[in-house]
């Protein structure tokens, strides 16, 4: 009896230094919301892939990645983010190397002739997901260590964003390139960049976006998909098809949806890329406004908790790290759900924690692990 009591009391004696003390400050709300979204995601991947001959395999794979992601999240959250940030140059350098390498013959050709993957036998790896994290970490560490953001630091930070953005443009992966812009904006806003510098940056950012849209770096299919949202009648039937089918599926779900496995569009495979980019249509069709609204609320909770972690962070590095992850999540969610709902252009952006795809799930989990780390280690 006595022995037990001593054991129970023991953590308090090691406050701040012991691993278990960090657990005390874990953000349970964020953790639960993350877990629920992952679970929701698995259910939807199941529904979207069950009609495929290898559907069970896809589901099991995804479940495995979810487990890996949770383990990675736990691992990352237990390590003080400052210890990780100490390594930011190496992490950033390596992630850029891997991102650049995908353009070499080592990378695999993906859909529409884009190069964004490594394929090692059955294992497919998308380096841009790691690159996003590496960049967020690097910028947070670089700007967070500074007293104030002068032009030199701003320029360096912009370069840190510019390199991966340029590399993803070369793939070309327009959606991911946009992620770097948005994450960069978010982090620079919070990072203390002067208002007039920000204003210039916003103008440059707008010019950059239009430049991307007009440039020859985009293939016609990309332009089609992008303009389809703004100009529904002026695009090819094929480009419209994605949008129409997604909206049809979501809308016909109504208030409560058809029920799991019963959505006609899902069941009969009318929505292309439904287990990945258009997975929100499964929630919309089979669980209706109630289910898909709940998913959005869970995401809102995640965003709120990350934002809260940013506020509570012990230092500006922690704040910036959280804001980077938050910007990334926010853009992913808004762009992905927005294109499913027909209010955003179609780009290949996965829904975090939900879309089928190992790299994205694991990277998202690690990102949330970093946020947890900021939250857990705020008193140390």
């Amino acid at each position: 009896m006595q022995q037990l009591r001593v054991d129970r009391q023991s953590p308090s004696g090691f406050r701040g230094r012991d691993v278990s003390s960090a657990w005390k400050h874990i953000d349970i709300v964020l953790l639960v919301a993350t877990g629920l979204i992952l679970l929701f995601g698995l259910v939807m991947v199941y529904s979207a892939t069950r009609r495929f001959p290898g559907g069970t395999g896809i589901l099991l794979r995804q479940a495995l990645f979810v487990v890996i992601g949770i383990v990675a999240m736990a691992g990352v959250s237990l390590v003080d983010y400052r210890r990780i940030a100490d390594w930011w140059q190496i992490i950033y350098g390596l992630s850029m190397l891997v991102l650049a390498g995908v353009l070499s013959p080592l990378g695999s050709l993906g859909a529409f002739g884009t190069k964004g993957w490594y394929a090692f036998g059955p294992v497919v790896f998308q380096p841009v997901e790691i690159a996003k994290l590496g960049t967020v970490l690097a910028v947070a560490a670089y700007l967070g260590s500074a007293e104030r953001v002068d032009l030199r630091r701003l320029a360096t930070a912009l370069l840190l964003f510019g390199v991966p953005m340029g590399l993803t443009m070369l793939q070309p992966d327009l959606g991911s390139a946009l992620v770097f812009i948005v994450v960069g904006m978010g982090m620079l806003v919070v990072g203390g960049v002067r208002v007039r510098h920000l204003a210039v940056l916003v103008i440059l950012g707008v010019v950059a976006v239009f430049g991307i849209l007009q440039s020859s770096a985009l293939d016609q299919y990309q332009k089609d998909r992008l303009t389809a949202f703004a100009n529904p009648d002026g695009v090819s039937a094929k480009a419209r098809y994605n949008i129409d089918q997604a909206q049809t599926a979501i809308s016909s779900g109504g208030l409560t949806g058809y029920g799991l496995g019963k959505g006609p569009s899902t069941r009969l495979g009318y929505v292309p890329a439904q287990q990945t980019d258009f997975i929100f249509t499964v929630a919309g069709e089979e669980f209706g406004f109630v289910g898909s609204g709940l998913l959005l609320i869970l995401f809102a909770i995640v965003i709120w908790r990350i934002w809260r972690a940013a506020q509570l962070a012990a230092d500006s590095m922690g704040t910036l790290l959280c804001i980077g992850v938050m910007s990334m999540f926010l853009f992913h969610i808004f762009e992905n759900v927005g294109m499913n709902l027909g209010i955003m252009p179609v780009t290949g952006i996965p829904l975090p924690l939900v879309s089928q795809g190992g790299s994205a799930v694991v990277a998202s989990c690690i990102a949330l692990g970093l946020v947890q780390s900021v939250h857990m280690h705020r008193y140390s």
Partner: protein
């Protein structure tokens, strides 16, 4: 880093985040809460297809329930040329070679050259399926459908097709079925499917052509006969002529609908609802197929014998066509309607080819598709005298002691100047003193010339058109309203119509005036008068029954069969939908004594020694006396049209059972050609010795049995030998 500033900036980002989520929620609610119905409809039309399926048409039976037109299912292998055209030539050839080999092995001899020829055949519309093998075994269907991926563009369809157990018999009357054309479709309110390929008549699993369904994809109810008329699609069958056309609404099956769910690739996933087509109703004709067969056989034999002979003026007897119509005078039912030449309706079953169509419409072929009995209009000649006689009495002119006339064989028109004032009897034969009965019996033209001349001179008293008015009462000059398309109204010229015709085209006519000579010509059915064989028989039937003019009918009833495998004529096996009742179109008021005088004259035609048809009646006597009138109409530069219209049994107090008209142009005298043929047709009918018609399937056995029966009874009823 300024803490306050950081807080402001964090708040700003928080507000951005909240706005973005609000935007998503609002859009989500708009789609799922507000705009749902529109998208739900889109979802249904995405995945639900309604396949239109035609069912077998109803059968056409004769008055005794013998099946004249049947429906059977034929499995047809066809080419869908759209996908085939998109293939590379080498790929396509591989498919064709493989198909030819496979069909050969499955016992359907099919040459590769035929497939290639059909593929390039321009007679079919680009989206139309081109048949390459008809009526194949179900095993072929199964084999090809199981290997559909190996035979892209090869369609196996089940089609309900028409079959004709009696071959050519009554072909004109029955009509035929063909694919609906765009005009017919629009007339029936059907949908023209834009650029899409037409719906297949019967779907096959390999490539059903479909139309997107609406939300509530429920078809029309079976009992709604209106649906039969309106729910047509391109590619459906429709009656193109004869009974098939007139009774389309009854014969057509209520189309079925298969509502299926397809996935994104278009593969069938589930059958949501299945509404089988409902077989069409059976039509019972007034026709007795045995009588029809008998009439057609004798008519054909007569015409074939006539052809090549010459008359006394050395005119060639071409006999290009001929018709026989037999009607029941008590109700207007048509018992037989023969038109020569005829055609084999089975050539229409898979669509009439262009060559066939051209052959049918080549004037040298005798236009076999034409039903001369109602589409042919001829100068009626002396058969017209019935109406002139009635006009004489009806006007009152003959009541004034003017009934007896001296007929020296020639009549001089009153108040006439010039060299064309004399009109003559045929051969200028004098008939001496004749009254009405005698005038009809011997066919005195002079008698009627005088009557017509008097009428024209006394228009103040009798009006300008007493003869035409009388003929019109018997139905001449207007359609009989027989429920068949294409009926010729004939022509009944009047001074007014002559004037109108002249004023319309002064270049075509010498004068617009009506003169004595016109009245005289009209009185004996010459000049501009034209009548159809159907009008002729119906007018004599009208006289025979005492003056009631019925609308000629070709259908007795419409029934809905319970079981197609059981005998069609078993009353337990059908439900009566509709009974066709006689329709009285008019009544001719004839005073009994006047009726008697005309009747005596017409009876004398066959019964008196002087009658124009007496000899031929003696040669093939009917069981009872017949009354009627011969006609020999002159046609310029051609041999005479031979006509005979009559009825039997004739006799006071005996109801007439049959009226008959026989018309053969370019064939000679009515008393020598048409009348004998009529008696030969009527004789076995009157004796009740009519032989059953032979279905084509057992033609030989049936004909042998008929011959045996004929020799046993001693009646040479099957012989078609000329007089």
């Amino acid at each position: 880093m300024d803490t306050d500033s950081t807080h402001v900036r964090l708040s700003a980002i928080g507000i951005v985040a909240i706005s973005l989520f609000l935007a998503l929620f609002m859009r989500l609610w708009f789609l799922q809460g507000i705009d749902r119905q529109a998208f739900e409809a889109a979802s249904v039309s995405n995945r639900v297809r309604v396949i239109h399926e035609e069912g077998p048409r109803g059968r056409i039976l004769d008055r005794n329930g013998k099946i004249l037109v049947d429906s059977e299912t034929s499995i047809v292998v066809s080419l869908d040329r759209e996908p085939l055209r998109k293939m590379k030539e080498s790929e396509r050839n591989t498919v064709f070679v493989s198909l030819a080999d496979t069909l050969q092995q499955l016992g359907v001899p099919t040459k590769l050259s035929l497939i290639e020829k059909r593929f390039a055949d321009l007679r079919y519309a680009p989206q139309e399926y081109v048949p390459i093998a008809d009526d194949v075994d179900p095993s072929v269907e199964i084999y090809l459908m199981e290997r559909a991926e190996r035979y892209p563009g090869i369609i196996v369809e089940r089609k309900a097709i028409r079959s004709y157990p009696y071959g050519n018999l009554a072909a004109h009357l029955l009509g035929y079925v063909g694919e609906i054309n765009e005009k017919e479709l629009v007339e029936r309110g059907g949908k023209l499917p834009g650029s899409e390929s037409p719906a297949t008549t019967a779907p096959s699993a390999s490539a059903p052509t479909t139309t997107a369904g609406t939300g509530s994809a429920k078809g029309s109810t079976a009992s709604d006969s209106g649906a039969r008329v309106t729910d047509y699609r391109l590619g459906d069958s429709i009656g193109k002529g004869g009974v098939e056309r007139s009774y389309e609404a009854d014969l057509r099956a209520v189309p079925g609908e298969r509502t299926i769910e397809v996935n994104a690739k278009g593969d069938l996933v589930d059958v949501l609802s299945l509404e089988s087509p409902v077989v069409g109703d059976d039509i019972w004709l007034t026709i007795d197929i045995d009588l029809q067969a008998h009439a057609e056989r004798l008519l054909a034999a007569k015409i074939q014998d006539l052809r090549g002979r010459r008359d006394k003026q050395n005119n060639r007897l071409n006999a290009p066509q001929g018709s026989v119509v037999i009607e029941d005078p008590q109700n207007g039912q048509i018992l037989a309607m023969a038109s020569y030449p005829d055609y084999d309706p089975s050539v229409t079953v898979n669509g009439i080819s262009q060559e066939q169509w051209a052959a049918f419409n080549d004037p040298n072929s005798g236009l076999p598709l034409v039903n001369w009995a109602l589409q042919g209009a001829y100068a009626p000649g002396s058969t017209f005298k019935l109406y002139t006689a009635f006009a004489g009495y009806n006007s009152g002119y003959l009541n004034g002691g003017t009934e007896v006339v001296n007929d020296p064989g020639v009549y001089t028109i009153e108040n006439c100047k010039g060299d064309k004032c004399e009109v003559r009897n045929a051969g200028s034969t004098p008939h001496g003193t004749v009254n009405m009965a005698r005038a009809l019996t011997v066919s005195s033209d002079v008698y009627f010339y005088k009557l017509a001349d008097k009428f024209w001179n006394l228009t103040d008293q009798y009006g300008p058109t007493p003869i035409q008015d009388a003929a019109a009462e018997f139905g001449l000059g207007s359609k009989t309203e027989i429920p068949l398309a294409g009926e010729n109204p004939g022509r009944l010229p009047t001074p007014a119509s002559r004037k109108a015709a002249f004023e319309a085209r002064p270049d075509l006519f010498m004068t617009g005036d009506w003169r004595s000579g016109d009245n005289i010509n009209t009185s004996i059915g010459q000049g501009d008068v034209l009548a159809t064989p159907l009008q002729l028989v119906n007018s004599y039937a009208t006289f025979a029954n005492g003056g009631t003019r019925y609308q000629p009918q070709i259908v007795t009833k419409v029934t809905r069969p319970r079981d197609l495998t059981l005998p069609a004529n078993d009353p337990a096996n059908y439900e009566l939908i509709r009974q066709v009742e006689p329709v009285v179109q008019g009544t001719v008021q004839i005073q009994p004594d006047q009726y008697g005088k005309i009747y005596d004259g017409l009876l004398g035609v066959t019964q008196s020694a002087y009658g124009t048809a007496a000899a031929s009646w003696q040669a093939s006597k009917t069981a009872w006396p017949m009354a009627g009138k011969t006609g020999t109409a002159q046609v310029s530069k051609k041999a005479d049209t031979s006509l005979f219209a009559a009825w039997g049994p004739a006799g006071t107090g005996v109801p007439a059972q049959y009226a008959i008209s026989v018309v053969i142009p370019e064939s000679g005298f009515g008393g020598e050609v048409a009348a004998p043929l009529a008696f030969r047709i009527m004789a076995p009918l009157s004796f009740g010795a009519l032989l059953p018609a032979c279905p084509t399937s057992d033609q030989d056995a049936c004909a042998a049995a008929a011959e045996q029966a004929a020799s046993a009874s001693g009646n040479d009823v099957t012989s078609g030998a000329p007089d």
